[in-house]
């Protein structure tokens, strides 16, 4: 290894470690990456994305410490994170704004690569891995959006998954597969959670590795005047100048995220209410252009708009390094591809703007969106309300709406059944709980057991219960009410 012969002045530990790990040469390889034409601010976006992804992984792992992926608890746990846990709102903000930041920096990275023609000259695999990463990141944004299980998450995802049913032949099957059923529900949430937390991140790690590896094999492309296949400009190593710029960008990102998360906490609306027929779903800003675009296609043309056109555009994007084989990198010499790219970007922007304008011009829509926003703000201000657990008093009182059961409860207490079986039949160390006993035995069986307990029951200290017929009847109806 070259590093060994150069650095004999390294500390003993450093040498020890390097002989076993090859860390120094690895570091050399990472830091000495030659950049033709020298460091540039324009090159910071790739490492900015890597930094953002790691920040998402770290904050995501920590958020999972309090989150429960179930339709029953998801919203409560996110509210708990936001309103109760120290720094919870801030971390959720970093994660939430981080997802938007990834989309922005992705666009910048894509635009820079495109305008600089950096996909040219044996860089097809770099580009392909990048395209897969773009899709995976959009998948992360889509799946993560549902997890708080608030109104906007629920309804935006309902619309998002409905689009799948436009796919010919297999559309409905696909939608069912993704939702885990015909309707959105707790299985949908579990699926989205697994995709968001396990599957897609695993693929992202793999494709980041491919992207970076194939990038390093091809080498940095340098400025637009550089020959992409065999660079001629004098190269500067990645360390220190480019690394300092990359680091500066990372600091800028995290400070911006911290600032946003601190002063404008990521919103959490009221819990999803599938019965709400008023709610107007609006996706997160980066999906708004798609949302608006889909409005123009319905009926028989839907397949064209939803599958064919996006499919062609997707193929054009993925196939770019295969279709555009010229070595010309200067954007002003590539009017067709640059023009098309600009038109698509402007088109997306225009769609987003149109959606906003339409929403504001329609008084009904504007009013409803305002109400939704106010509901969200009100929910954010409200104190955290812990979730009532299953064995709670309220549930028991509901069971006692039956007057017979109420009388039975008095007998339960008079006969000191609660001494061993606990108040409300919750059980003690001395005797088992009676909650749910009504689903195990019917009234006749219960009465028989009370008159003549089994051998096992008697060994445990259960005496035979002798009561008047009407008293026995209400006691049994109380036992059956224990759920």
């Amino acid at each position: 290894m070259a590093a060994d012969s150069i650095h004999d002045d390294r500390s003993g530990f450093r040498q020890w470690l390097d002989r076993r790990t090859g860390l120094d040469s690895l570091l050399h390889h990472a830091l000495d990456e030659p950049i033709p034409g020298g460091a540039k601010i324009a090159y910071v976006f790739g490492s900015g994305l890597l930094f953002l992804f790691l920040s998402q992984v770290i904050t995501g792992v920590f958020l999972a410490m309090y989150y429960v992926p179930s339709a029953d608890h998801a919203h409560t746990t996110v509210a708990y994170i936001t309103k109760e846990v120290t720094g919870g709102s801030f971390l959720r903000g970093i994660h939430g704004y981080g997802s938007s930041a990834i989309i922005i920096v992705l666009l910048l990275h894509l635009t820079q690569t495109f305008l600089y023609g950096s996909y040219k000259g044996r860089r097809e695999l770099v580009w392909l891995a990048g395209c897969v990463l773009l899709a995976l990141m959009l998948g992360m944004a889509f799946t993560g959006y549902l997890l708080p299980w608030d109104q906007k998450a629920y309804f935006a995802t309902t619309v998002g998954t409905n689009i799948l049913s436009e796919v010919p032949w297999v559309g409905n099957a696909l939608k069912k597969l993704l939702r885990g059923g015909t309707e959105m529900g707790t299985l949908t949430l579990s699926r989205f959670f697994v995709l968001h937390v396990f599957l897609i991140p695993a693929f992202i790690f793999a494709f980041v590795a491919m992207h970076v590896y194939s990038f390093r094999r091809a080498g940095a492309a340098g400025p637009v005047t550089e020959d992409p296949a065999s660079p001629k400009l004098r190269a500067e190593p990645f360390y220190p100048k480019q690394l300092v710029m990359d680091m500066g960008f990372a600091v800028l990102i995290i400070v911006a995220l911290g600032f946003l998360a601190y002063f404008w906490p990521t919103e959490l609306g009221p819990k999803a209410d599938p019965a709400d027929t008023q709610f107007l779903p609006r996706p997160e800003w980066y999906y708004v252009p798609v949302f608006q675009y889909l409005k123009y296609w319905h009926g028989s043309t839907a397949v064209l708009g939803i599958l064919v056109i996006p499919g062609i555009l997707g193929l054009l994007l993925v196939g770019l390094p295969f279709l555009d084989r010229s070595m010309e990198r200067r954007p002003w010499k590539r009017p067709i591809s640059v023009g098309l790219f600009t038109i698509i970007l402007l088109g997306l922007g225009a769609l987003g703007f149109t959606n906003h304008r339409e929403d504001m011009r329609n008084p009904g829509v504007a009013a409803q969106l305002k109400i939704q926003h106010e509901d969200t703000l009100q929910f954010m201000k409200a104190k955290f309300e812990p979730e009532l657990s299953g064995g709670s008093l309220v549930a028991q009182n509901m069971a006692l709406a039956n007057p017979e059961a109420t009388k039975g409860k008095a007998i339960f207490e008079r006969e000191a059944c609660n001494a061993c079986h606990g108040d409300n039949g919750i059980g003690t160390a001395a005797a088992p709980k009676l909650i749910g006993v009504g689903s195990k035995y019917n009234a006749t069986n219960l009465e028989a057991l009370l008159h003549i307990p089994t051998q096992k029951m008697r060994q445990g200290g259960m005496p035979p219960v002798e009561l008047k017929e009407d008293e026995m009847k209400v006691l049994i109806s109380y036992l059956q009410s224990l759920k």
Partner: protein
């Protein structure tokens, strides 16, 4: 870090070592800033259940003081207690007895037997608390009279606010000679 790459690779421009160490310092400062900005909230976030006082004991109403003024024998009351467990809460009713001590002051006794945790009923005919499980017997003010329990019935903390007797319901370890609070 800076020594590790003091040699420039072939075909690259050499940097002066002063400038390199300045930049290395800048990098170190940058990493520290980014690290701290993430690490501090992460640490506080993780330590929340350890540091935040989420399991504060709360006062439950037992009843109006008036109704206990002419107490002849201990009366059973159900107090509603709310137990918090992170983002969930459980509301349960626990039986307690309101009684008077030797000096005639109101006391509140936990109905949980100090022996094995059965609920102790007041037996009016005997004027005693008699646990049905193993026949531990206690006086009206909760003193141990006979049987296997290791100590008197547990007294709960009380206070009177606006004419309402309140208590702090707690659980205590069973089978120990001294009253030990359970979290």
């Amino acid at each position: 870090m800076s020594e590790a790459v003091s040699e420039s690779p072939r075909g690259t421009q050499p940097e002066s070592s002063d400038r390199r160490s300045f930049l290395a310092g800048l990098l170190a400062a940058g990493s520290a800033a980014v690290g701290a900005l993430l690490a501090v909230p992460l640490l506080r976030f993780t330590l929340h259940p350890v540091l935040a006082r989420t399991t504060e004991k709360s006062w439950s109403d037992v009843g109006n003081v008036d109704e206990f003024q002419n107490l002849e024998a201990p009366v059973k009351k159900l107090v509603t207690i709310e137990q918090r467990d992170g983002w969930r809460k459980t509301i349960t009713e626990k039986p307690v007895y309101v009684s008077k001590d030797a000096k005639g002051e109101l006391i509140v006794l936990s109905a949980v037997c100090t022996h094995l945790g059965c609920t102790v009923p007041w037996v009016e005919q005997e004027k005693k608390f008699i646990c049905p499980c193993h026949l531990g017997t206690f006086s009206p003010d909760g003193r141990l009279l006979a049987g296997p329990p290791p100590r008197d019935m547990d007294r709960l903390e009380t206070m009177i606010e606006d004419g309402v007797l309140k208590t702090q319901y707690q659980f205590f370890r069973q089978l120990t000679r001294n009253k030990e609070e359970l979290a």
